[in-house]
Amino acid sequence: MSPEILNVIEVLLNGLMAGIMYSLVALGFVLIFKASGIFNFAQGVMALFAALTLVGFQTGQIPFAHLVNVMFGTDYHNWGEGMNSFIAIVLTVLLMIVFAWLVEKLVLRHLVNQAPIILFMATIGLAFFMEGFGDLMWGANIKTLDVGIPSGGSFWWEDVTRVWAPEGADYYGMYIDVLDVWATVIAVALVITLTLFSQYTKIGRALRAVADDHQAALTVGISLRVIWVIVWSIAGFVALVAGIMWGSKSGVQFSLSLIALKALPVLILGGFTSIPGAIVGGLIIGVGEKLFEYSIGPLIGGATENWFAYVLALLFLMFRPQGLFGEKIIERV
């Protein structure tokens, strides 16, 4: 194969990997939208909050240290050396469950039966709240996140692919980030677990029932509120996974919450209600934007990825207005 073709394959492959990273964020949106019809604007901030909490536990930060120090003139920062990553993750998941319960109790319960845009707005309020709360709790400085996932270019893959190029060509192998490979593995595991969970457990079946028809689910005795708490907890867990993967790359800081913007085109393309849609949408967006940037980008000045993702989603929507895997819109008068 000539180096040009290999380069295109490299771009494709990395596009797929980037797409998986977008899908991880989009998954959380889909879960909540499916079960409650809420477009959860706070998903990105939840990822930030979960990652902040994880690092806080790992490094043994005292929550609200800055606030306490200002109010009482004390000088607290740490309560110890921190803890094992695994325990920290478990504690963070527990905290996200508590958070889900609070959201249901204080906000969602009072907004049952409102129009989607009102619920959307409520999650915006939630996003503001958590943004301030997370910073207040753990501080706004940048934090290094390391849970032991390896990262960096893969030597093995470089060696394997180098020989694909013709003898004597100036080619030094294909690049792939080990972290992205791990992200793929984790995403696949996550989707399989979620599918098994929703197919074979009682709660999972209840979830699907609620997603199908709220009122019918209520009549057969499924508690909507419990379901909502469960769904938000799962979304919190997915947010934690997304936060870990993205946070390992860039450190944990405010910008982590902006990854939600990369998930939006994925979500729209895949359809709001489909878990496979989130994955396939992510792959299409990832590959599409990387290929466009590779082929057309240099001609028109680069940095095209942000808008091209939306244009690509738009093109798909022109043919399938409900997204690739979305439920068919049936309009009755």
Binding site: M121, A122, G125, F129, G132, L136, L264, P321
Partner: protein, 358 residues
């Protein structure tokens, strides 16, 4: 007790159809306008102009525009920031190419250019609905900002891509630029906002507004009774983008005076305006103003109380403000999901019957 509509008889169709049919409403609006036009200009200083009144008017204008589209016609748009950028860059190009052009004409033409761009990006709305439509407007948002950042013609080939508003005069008084007196810029914005608020109010009462609302409430039904979806949706996009373009031009020429596309017209601006109309009230002219005032003034108010009044550290205050705004948004939505304008409407209902609630 004071506020009532009984005894307010109409003897002609004309009287019945006026914009504010209730006597007290009418006088309230006239008094507020008179106060804004005749008293405020003599009291205003730099701080009130740049931090309070002009921003509120600029954002109210944008919120009006988005409310016409989203609140009245039911088409969700997240491209407000991009459309504001179109208005801002159009005004920049116009005023630097034709330095003698009257500022009102510059602003109106900028709105016109934006209306044209808005219609282009509104075309997909014929096929795509609801949240999915957000993608078309988001494409507009990101593409327009990228375009203004990339093509040097838009920023007159300046080194860094910043555009700076040149000094322009009306009746010999600077309207834009650093030496413009606060009262002049304030009055300039006020005239535009009041005129266009009245136009918006009348649009929504007339045939056009009714067809928008028909499409919003159920587009298929509206189509069957003879409302053409193509013309109606695109007219909503055109009018809405016009307003947003005017707001963008004011934002750049009068309020900021310098801008770059990525920061001044980013996606967060689109969300900000959407927050305004939801908090203020979808499908309400008054709501657009209340929402804009809420989102602009609450942070300033909290900041002044907590930093200026109580002397707390600025970073703590910034975090607390976010928490408080988030909390307030959720609180208001729980108390009244239809926005602050609805609260006002309910208060009016109560006043009407007070003190005999039954």
């Amino acid at each position: 007790m004071f506020y009532r509509e009984s005894g307010d008889f109409k003897t002609s169709y004309r009287g019945d159809q006026q914009m504010f049919p209730i006597f007290l409403d009418r006088w309230f609006v006239i008094t507020v306008s008179a106060f804004a036009f005749l008293v405020v200009p003599f009291l205003i200083n730099d701080y009130w102009e740049k931090s309070v009144l002009v921003p509120v008017m600029v954002w109210a204008m944008a919120a009006l525009g988005l409310n016409l589209l989203t609140g009245y016609c039911g088409q969700l748009s997240l491209g407000t920031g991009g459309f504001m950028a179109v208005g801002a860059y159009a005004s920049y190009k116009l005023t630097t190419s034709f330095p003698e052009m009257n500022m009102f004409i510059v602003i109106l033409l900028s709105g016109g250019v934006t209306a044209f761009v808005g219609v282009l990006f509104g075309l997909p709305s014929l096929r795509i609905k609801g949240f999915y439509l957000a993608v078309a407007t988001l494409a507009a948002q990101f593409f327009l900002v990228w375009l203004f950042n990339k093509v040097p013609w838009f920023y007159n080939y300046s080194g860094s891509g910043m555009i700076t508003a040149p000094e322009r005069f009306m009746f010999g008084i600077a309207i834009s630029g650093p030496n413009s007196p606060p009262w002049a810029t304030y009055l300039f914005c006020l005239v535009i906002v009041v005129v266009f608020a009245l136009i918006a109010k009348n649009l929504t009462r007339g045939r056009v507004g009714r067809s928008w609302m028909a499409i919003r409430d159920m587009d298929i039904a509206a189509e069957i009774i003879g409302v053409p979806p193509l013309r109606t949706k695109l007219s909503a996009f055109a009018v809405s983008s016009f307003y947003i373009g005017v707001s963008g031009a004011m934002f750049f020429m009068i309020y900021l005076g310098a801008a770059e596309p990525t920061e001044a017209f980013g996606i967060d601006k689109s969300f900000l305006v959407l927050f305004m109309i939801i908090i203020g009230g979808l499908g309400s002219i008054l709501g657009s103003f209340i929402g804009a005032a809420f989102m602009v003034l609450i942070p300033v108010l909290f900041k002044n109380i907590m930093v200026g009044g109580l002397g707390w550290p600025t970073d703590l205050v910034a975090h607390l403000i976010l928490i408080l705004i988030g909390g307030l948004i959720m609180f208001f939505l729980i108390v009244e999901p239809h926005g602050l304008a609805q609260l006002w409407r309910i208060t009016k209902e109560k006043l009407r019957l007070w003190p005999f609630p039954h």
